[in-house]
């Protein structure tokens, strides 16, 4: 495709030289900016305590202490904090799917009266992010209206508010809109009710968008900090990021860095496996069509 630079220019000798020079320069800049910090973290995790604190620092670890990871896992009791994180993230993910898929299906295919108003009210909340509503949502979680429950220090305090995600409903609805109504009519002729139609016809066709929404939910829940910090004051219940932030000043630097590497490894692995879905979900959703 034609871009800023004319393809013919790139075929000249001068054009080619400039192209490769700029490419090399940008490659270098990007690598310094994005690979070196990650490299630094990875190698810092395997340095010895005196080496990681030494000035000037070493670029290649003098001695590779791979045992730091095992030591961090043991000393920081990471089994517990990873299980906590998995419980919070997995629950938030499943709860979101259970709430958002039927909602998007109803708005897209069952089209109830005032459906557009409901969607509009949901979309408005996109601009009132949870962070800015920290205090009233916290007070709601402390004493859930009508139910009179106190959810502090329970996983539900993280799961339930995660369900109110208008962005997911919006991209699910947009995808469902493109499933032809004839398919649904055919299912109805065969005697399928709305639940069967959703589960048997719409969901199998929507696997790609469900994957995108799932990954978005998982990544968002894993990255969240301020909310679990506030609603899970019991240290034994906290996810790994809240825990690491709390203990950071009190543990040896190389053990902390090993902990940081371990805390980011699952998301990095998820990204490398699902990068196509993640990157396409990013551009599909953010531009609104």
């Amino acid at each position: 495709m034609r871009t800023l630079i004319r393809p013919a220019v790139l075929r000249t000798r001068r054009g080619r030289t400039v192209y490769w020079a700029v490419l090399a320069l940008v490659l270098l800049l990007f690598t310094v900016a994005f690979v070196i910090p990650l490299y630094w973290m990875g190698t810092g995790a395997v340095k010895s305590a005196p080496e990681v604190a030494q000035n000037p620092p070493t670029y290649v670890p003098r001695e590779w202490q791979l045992g730091n990871f095992a030591e961090a896992w043991q000393e920081l009791d990471l089994t517990r904090y990873f299980l906590n994180t998995l419980l919070l993230v997995g629950g938030a993910w499943l709860f979101q799917l259970a709430v958002q898929i039927p909602a998007a299906y109803a708005l897209s295919k069952l089209r109830p009266r005032y459906g557009n108003l409901v969607l509009g009210l949901m979309l408005v909340t996109l601009m009132m992010p949870v962070t800015a509503l920290l205090v009233p949502v916290y007070l709601t979680v402390v004493d859930v209206p009508l139910l009179g429950l106190n959810l502090i220090d329970t996983p539900a305090a993280v799961w339930l508010p995660a369900g109110a995600n208008a962005f997911n409903i919006y991209i699910l609805k947009n995808f469902f809109d493109r499933v032809p109504d004839e398919l649904l009519d055919a299912a109805r002729m065969d005697g399928a009710g709305p639940v069967t139609t959703m589960v048997r016809v719409v969901l199998p066709l929507s696997r790609p968008i469900i994957a995108v929404v799932s990954i978005l939910s998982i990544v968002t829940a894993w990255k969240d900090f301020i909310w679990p910090l506030v609603v899970l004051p019991d240290p034994a219940k906290q996810p790994i990021s809240v825990f690491l932030q709390r203990v950071a000043p009190d543990i040896p630097l190389n053990i902390l860095i090993a902990g940081l590497v371990l805390a980011s490894a699952p998301l990095i692995a998820l990204f490398l496996v699902f990068q196509r879905q993640i990157l396409s979900g990013l551009t599909a959703g953010s531009l609104k069509g």
Partner: protein
């Protein structure tokens, strides 16, 4: 013998067998069926309506009420009028927090706006290594913000830190980064930009790919040089995305919390106390939820201005 053809003789629905044709009854039945369909649809929606009501809509309304209340878990809330706002006006930190948040947003726009756009424009010209760039720039977005913050605290360390060491290697002046009130806020902006620029860069890249190549050809025929083509084709063609991301970034960066909370705790000399950090302190350190709500309300009003502009913009684009 009867011959059935595709076209029916009459357009009215066939009467029930054995009974007379009664339109009113049929109409009522249809209306009942339609009502049943609405009920089914709301059955599918009820869980979503419940969580939105509890955790979005009600808190938005409640925030306004709480701003004028004294919150007391033991004896219940009481109305205090403008008392919370008066307390905010008396706290010198409030002005500092607004100034810091505004400056953070401004720096984040200058840096987080120009750098990803330039990166996207350049990378879009490459025929090689594009997947590499795309993965690289997005990797930090995948890191938990707490990890990023703790990691950069170590990078900024004036002693064994990576950043000063890199600067020394290329003979540039070093800095005390988060340890000095003069540079702490900018240091946090650098971290936030590093961590989040992947998202904006990739959105710009996607937008650049929708620009029709003929526009560049036409501009070239008119004798436009490289800069003029960027100025008169690239920028106008991506204007909508540029504007949307401007508003989204303002809304996001005005609420910055994790970086100052984890990296500096608001210091040194209150140079990184942001509005969100102060809201957190009022609520969870001083246990003064009323005043925290009053400050939240002010923040929400500011964000609402930008949000309204955003909604208006996307609405006009869709119709």
């Amino acid at each position: 013998m009867t011959v059935t053809t595709g076209t029916s003789v009459t357009s009215r629905p066939a009467a029930a067998p054995g009974g007379p044709y009664r339109p009113a009854e049929q109409l009522r039945a249809r209306r009942r069926r339609r009502l049943g369909e609405h009920a089914t649809a709301y059955g599918f929606l009820c869980a979503a309506l419940a969580v939105f009501a509890l955790f979005s809509w009600y808190p938005i309304v409640r925030n306004v009420l709480l701003a004028f209340q004294d919150v007391n878990f033991a004896t219940g809330n009481s109305w205090v009028g403008l008392e919370n706002f008066r307390r905010l006006a008396d706290d010198p930190l409030v002005g500092t927090a607004w100034k810091n948040s505004a400056l953070f947003t401004l720096y984040a726009l200058l840096l987080g706006y120009a750098v990803p756009f330039a990166a996207a424009v350049v990378v879009n010209e490459f025929r090689h290594a594009r997947a590499y760039f795309r993965i690289l720039v997005y990797l930090p977005v995948m890191l938990p913000p707490v990890v990023v913050a703790l990691m950069w605290n170590w990078f900024y360390d004036p002693g064994p830190g990576l950043i000063n060491e890199l600067l020394r290697t290329v003979h540039l002046p070093t800095s005390s980064w988060v340890d000095s009130a003069d540079t702490s806020l900018v240091s946090l902006v650098i971290v936030a930009t590093w961590a989040n620029m992947g998202t904006t860069t990739l959105i710009y890249l996607a937008a650049l790919q929708t620009i029709p190549g003929e526009l560049y050809e036409a501009a070239e025929l008119d004798g436009a040089n490289l800069w003029q083509r960027i100025r008169h084709v690239t920028i106008p063609q991506t204007r909508f995305v540029l504007l949307i991301l401007l508003l989204l970034q303002v809304v996001a960066t005005m609420q910055v919390f994790t970086e100052p909370f984890v990296m500096t705790g608001g210091g040194p000399e209150d140079s990184t106390v942001t509005v969100m950090l102060l809201i957190y302190r009022y609520a969870f350190v001083y246990n003064d939820f009323g005043t925290a709500s009053a400050l939240s309300l002010l923040l929400l009003l500011v964000l609402a201005l930008f949000s309204a502009a955003y909604l208006r913009l996307t609405r006009t684009r869709e119709t």
